[in-house]
């Protein structure tokens, strides 16, 4: 018992060592073998969760990887993916050297070239584009964690055509949160796992926040807190929930607003909280048909006004002395005005949102909806908690304690991947706020640098479409507040190749990567020259309508030239997309590189304080590969981009590590917040510190600042926290962050659609904008559900990510693919019986977009109107270092093939949320038909084998990894 007894092998206090010496068994077992020569602490990249890992290296080979106990994300635990990192690092699918295409696109025919040649080719091409029409470079990155660098590079290059993968991932969750409460699920918020008593989880498989959710569920289970899962599929987390609500896909918003209906009807809402922290009292002008209809009544300084019932005048909403009025209707200077709350009450008390009305459509009976509402009310108002921590509000008011309503919620892909996802996400935040559970003890908590003003600044740059040799005025991605911030031309047409921030997707805060290939192929809004992609499998599982996407990538015009003239791709592995590139820049594995997990991007903060982290090279590459970010910085210097070169034209940064330490985005603020200033004494702001990376390494690979007790809750109005946030550069002013239950920016788009203002949408977009840019959350049918094809395709079809796989990466992993190498279509037993199907049958899964073939597995734990499968198990033959007989390319199927990339009801639009442009993967509807006897045993469609690059290793026949580490004598041969 020599050590701190509170510390165990991981975050769980129950997982304790024996603390005894080895007994003298005399059986010759070596109980104390040396594990490694050295341990390097870095950041995992087996998914996007960013856990801290300890990498044990022996004789230059990775022996073992475990979770870093001190790390704020995973606190010592590690998941099924992270534990298989060795096999990812040593994958035979690793690219070895830059490649230049020699055969037709998609064939996989390449020759190896030197880096100098590769970079010269890229520089020549890109510099020509930059000198003429920079927007002809479309630069889109995948699941990378360096968007503050890549976005800055695009900005300096001068192209507005930049985004990362958020548009096809979870922008509905990000935008829904950031426009409403100034934070979001996962990245910018988390449940108060230590105090919550009632946890609702909507539409979550392993999408995001892998280990923190698991650690949290473990804590809830240990404490006996209740877990309610709302999900069509009863897998993973949903399987251990106390209550599984097997909802029909795309109806979560309706379910949530029925809960709101019940809570309002019973008066079970936290009025004091609503009045203090939201815009519920803001006066909304009621002037139907007028240019100011639905806008806030504003006074001096353009500040919103509220009604002062004592003096019967409208006053500044920030006036702390006024008792806010939430109801009524007032005639002010000749204008009829009502508080936001009045509008909310009218909408959600309507019978359309009553449990009896919504039950059938949701597939959840009315009694269950009423019961959940009653439980929420009970926990929020009868089981409230109080932390004995005094704090001061931004209004100067001192509170003796922190009151908490211990209900928390988390939601992800099942909400976001529908055409109604933005409003559904807002509906969930609305429910949280009405219960008074946002950033209170036991509730949903913000992770610094959030909350920020909803929506946060700055606006997207690139209005002029990009000019030759000229950087953009700012970063390409941002948050619009109204039509004036859109990127549209004089005719109202899109400026960006992905049509983000156009009338088709006004709040496209993450861009629409899933539309780029089609738009570039069509030349709509204009043709491009070069498509530059990083780490996104756009020729396969990251695109909808894969069959056509492949056709577009390989299609030629009348003169025999590819319609997408040039494709540069960087990846570490031989994915399906590599085969379609003209120039391949091979990246390193995650254990061979520097990275920063930055507060400027997606940091490792948790609710008790901000944090950031690094990756450091653990092993030297044994291939001729370079970290993509270092290559990008090199390209920036070769192109002479401002910020990447010194005055004399020489490269400003040696490599990514140099950039991480020395780049300043604004004075004193750089990629890493820890150990700034010459002596490393500053946090957040300070001059670059040449020893910064070493300080991170010495500290276990991360920096983390613990907030003072009084700063940990009510961050949206906590003076001490907001003063700190101002110092750190998280917010510009230490002013309260008002939750926007009513979103005025949305109403501005509606007014434009009614013809008001200087900037109005082209007529053919107006009805859609009027319908969906509603300032209050509402529910509408996912678009494919209201399509005329609905009757032909009676079932919903979804995918989930298995907990042990991260998209297509997992399939190359010798260990992970033993857990899943063939995906089945999971189907309810009753549904199958009605179709005459039995377990293991081969079926056609058909949508309006085509059909794929796979094998079914019957279960009870799924909504009967839903079928689902594991995502991205199916592979193209020849990809990922797999042999030709691998199950992945013979028996597995990719549902992407049959997900349309356009709306089936209106092919002008991409298959995306009309507000944010989020890819609507889960709107898919299908029908199932049994295969003919001669059709069974193999998947369809199948594609030509992609050839292997030169010097690619043959896959091993057998793997005895680890034999070299064995401590005791080798066994007999």
């Amino acid at each position: 018992m020599s050590r701190d007894w509170l510390r165990a092998a991981n975050s769980s206090p129950s997982q304790r060592p024996l603390s005894v010496s080895a007994p003298n068994e005399k059986d010759g077992v070596e109980t104390s073998p040396a594990v490694s020569d050295r341990i390097a602490k870095t950041t995992c990249y087996m998914c996007a969760c960013r856990c801290g890992i300890d990498v044990h290296v022996k004789d230059g080979v990775i022996r073992y990887i475990n979770g870093n106990k001190d790390h704020p994300v995973n606190r010592g635990v590690i998941c099924g993916k992270g534990s298989a990192g060795i096999m990812q690092h040593y994958s035979p699918a690793r690219l070895r050297k830059p490649l230049l295409r020699t055969g037709p696109r998609g064939s996989g025919a390449f020759r190896e070239i030197e880096w100098d040649e590769a970079l010269s080719i890229a520089t020549q091409r890109l510099s020509q584009i930059r000198a003429t029409e920079p927007r002809k470079l479309a630069f889109f990155t995948g699941r990378d964690q360096s968007q503050s660098l890549t976005g800055w590079w695009a900005s300096k290059f001068g192209t507005p055509n930049y985004a990362a993968h958020g548009g096809f991932c979870s922008v509905n969750m990000a935008a829904g949160g950031l426009y409403t409460v100034g934070g979001s699920f996962w990245e910018f918020g988390e449940p108060d796992w230590d105090r919550t008593k009632y946890f609702m989880i909507f539409g979550v498989a392993e999408d995001h926040d892998s280990n923190p959710i698991k650690i949290g569920l473990g804590k809830l289970k240990a404490r006996g807190a209740k877990v309610v899962s709302v999900n069509p599929c009863r897998t993973g987390y949903n399987a251990i929930a106390d209550d599984w609500i097997g909802i029909r896909p795309g109806t979560d918003g309706l379910f949530v607003l029925a809960l709101v209906h019940e809570l309002l009807r019973a008066g079970k809402i936290d009025l004091e909280y609503i009045a203090a922290y939201t815009n519920a009292a803001h006066l909304v002008i009621q002037n139907p048909g007028g240019a100011d209809d639905g806008l806030f009544l504003r006074g001096p300084g353009d500040l919103p006004l509220i009604w002062d019932s004592e003096r019967n005048v409208a006053v500044d909403a920030h006036n702390a002395d006024v008792r806010p009025v939430l109801t009524g209707s007032y005639l002010i200077d000749g204008r009829r005005c009502v508080p936001v709350f009045q509008l909310m009450a009218e909408r959600y008390l309507d019978e359309a949102y009553s449990p009896d009305v919504v039950a059938e459509r949701c597939g959840v009976d009315a009694a269950t909806i009423r019961r959940i509402a009653a439980e929420l009310a009970h926990v929020a108002f009868e089981e409230a908690i109080e932390l004995p921590v005094a704090w001061t509000g931004t209004n100067g008011r001192r509170h003796a304690s922190m009151r908490g309503r211990p209900i928390s919620m988390h939601a992800m892909r099942g909400i976001s991947a529908h055409t109604n996802g933005f409003h559904t996400c807002r509906a969930i935040h609305l429910l949280q706020v009405l219960l008074g559970t946002v950033d209170v003890p036991g509730g949903f908590r913000f992770k610094p640098p959030f909350p920020k003003e909803p929506p946060p600044g700055p606006k997207p740059a690139g209005k002029d479409g990009g000019r030759a040799m000229t950087p953009l005025s700012g970063m390409p991605l941002g948050f619009v507040s109204g039509p004036e911030d859109l990127l549209v031309d004089d005719n109202g047409g899109p400026i960006r190749i992905d049509k983000a921030y156009s009338w088709e997707a006004p709040l496209a805060a993450h861009g629409l990567m899933h539309t780029v290939i089609r738009n570039a192929w069509v030349g709509d809004p204009y043709p491009i020259d070069t498509l530059f992609l990083y780490m996104a499998n756009m020729a396969w599982n990251s695109s909808m309508n894969t069959v056509d996407t492949i056709r577009m990538l390989t299609d030629k015009d009348g003169s025999g030239e590819y319609r997408i003239p040039y494709i540069i791709y960087s990846d570490a592995y031989y994915s399906e997309t590599v085969a379609f590139a003209d120039l391949v820049l091979p990246d390193t594995t995650y254990l061979e590189r520097h990275d920063c997990i930055s507060l400027l991007d997606r940091p490792v903060s948790h609710a008790d304080g901000p944090g950031d982290a690094i990756r450091q090279p653990v092993i030297d590459p044994d291939r001729d590969v370079r970290a993509f970010q270092t290559v990008l910085i090199d390209l920036g210097a070769r192109l002479g981009l401002p910020g990447f070169v010194n005055d004399d034209g020489s490269a400003k940064y040696r490599d990514y590590a140099d950039y991480i330490v020395n780049h300043e985005r604004s004075p004193g603020i750089g990629p890493l917040a820890g150990w700034r200033s010459e002596d490393g004494s500053a946090e957040g702001r300070g001059a670059p510190n040449p020893g910064q990376l070493q300080r991170y390494i010495d500290n276990g690979g991360f920096w983390h600042h613990e907030l003072a007790d009084e700063q940990r809750f009510y961050k949206m109005a906590n003076k001490s926290y907001l003063d700190f946030a101002r110092h750190m550069g998280f917010v510009e002013k230490p002013e309260p962050i008002i939750f926007q239950l009513y979103s005025e920016p949305l109403q501005k788009f509606r007014l434009a659609a009614e013809g008001h203002g200087d900037l109005v949408p082209p007529p053919d977009h107006r009805e859609r904008l009027k319908a969906y840019m509603d300032p209050l959350p509402f529910w509408y049918e996912p678009f494919e559900d209201s399509s005329s094809e609905k009757g032909r395709f009676p079932l919903h079809a979804l995918t989930q990510r298995p907990m042990h796989m991260y998209h297509s990466w997992g399939g190359q992993n010798a260990w992970l693919r033993q857990i899943t190498s063939q995906n089945r279509l999971f189907m309810h037993r009753k549904t199958a019986a009605a179709l005459g199907l039995a377990d293991d049958d081969w079926v056609w899964i058909e949508s309006a977009n085509g059909r794929v073939k796979g094998q079914i597995r019957l279960v009870d734990g799924v909504n009967p109107q839903t079928v689902w499968t594991w995502n991205a198990i199916g592979k193209r033959r020849g990809a990922w270092g797999l042999k030709d007989d691998a199950a992945e390319s013979n028996r597995s199927f990719l549902l992407n093939h049959i997900i349309g990339d356009r709306l089936s009801g209106d092919s002008r639009y991409s298959n995306s949320d009309p507000v944010t442009g989020q890819a609507a993967w889960f709107d898919l509807r299908v029908r199932i038909e049994k295969c003919l006897p001669q059709e069974i045993g193999f998947t369809e469609p199948r594609f030509d084998r992609q050839a292997q690059p030169p010097h690619f290793p043959q896959p091993a026949e057998s793997l005895s990894f680890g034999a070299q580490f064995r401590g005791r004598s080798v066994p007999p041969a």
Partner: protein
């Protein structure tokens, strides 16, 4: 045939919480990762990138559905050696390769004595033995005997790899022979069970059954009643706020 010790000083084993396990496979791959370089290294994988892939794993998780009184439920069931008190795999071993340690009760294989006859895998009703075709010997869970006493790693880390990895804290390690150990008390508190006790092999490991699903948790939560206030809901709002 191989003899068993009459008793063991300790009964080291695992307790696995089926109420908390989400089936994430962390224990599966962390076990593989540690042990493929550990006491029984390697845990060979055959045809690792092909159609007939198969490998040696000391721990596997099975997910399946079953019927309970309150309906169908999904269970994630991690399966590894249970380090039985009366292990048939040991008593059938013709060479003494399989043995049970008298100190801590861990069931091990001395590979130098294993002739690969597979009698042990036929005898084990729990399917816990794994034959490594590349070397022709049987392999199995060692309870991370090269971790739990390992003086080359920090004391706090001296637990089996599967336990250290488990993100939901569904896995626990300790001495089940000591009624006062934290792990024994956990078994008492949660009514932990042995698997197939009727077979008489007396497994050391215990499983904590899924708790009753509390869909009636709201018994303390009375049904919501609509406000009967004058002026309806909005009247109630006005009065509530004017009270503050």
């Amino acid at each position: 045939m191989t003899c068993l010790p009459a008793s063991t000083e300790k009964k080291l084993g695992l307790v696995i919480d089926l109420d908390t396990c989400v089936g994430c496979q962390a224990c599966v791959t962390s076990c593989k990762e540690w042990n493929t370089g550990g006491e029984m290294a390697p845990l060979t994988d055959v045809d690792p990138y092909g159609g007939d892939v198969d490998g040696v794993w000391f721990n596997r998780v099975h997910s399946y559905e079953h019927q309970t009184e309150s309906g169908s439920s999904t269970v994630h069931f991690p399966r590894s050696c249970l380090h039985c008190e009366k292990p048939a795999c040991v008593t059938v071993c013709p060479t003494g390769a399989s043995y049970k340690r008298s100190s801590d009760g861990i069931v091990l294989i001395d590979e130098s004595k294993c002739i690969g006859c597979k009698l042990c895998s036929w005898a084990c009703p729990y399917g816990a033995r794994e034959f490594d075709t590349s070397v022709g010997v049987m392999k199995k869970c060692t309870l991370c005997i090269d971790r739990i006493y390992n003086e080359n790693i920090a004391e706090e880390d001296r637990v089996p790899a599967c336990v250290a990895a488990c993100p939901t804290s569904a896995r626990h390690f300790g001495d089940l022979g000591d009624p006062d150990s934290a792990i024994s008390q956990l078994v008492d508190r949660r009514s932990g069970v042995e698997l197939m006790p009727e077979l008489g092999y007396k497994p050391t490991n215990r499983y904590l059954p899924p708790r009753e699903r509390t869909s009636n948790f709201g018994s303390a939560a009375p049904a919501l009643q609509p406000l009967q206030a004058e002026g309806g809901f909005l009247g109630w709002v006005d009065r509530m706020l004017s009270r503050q």
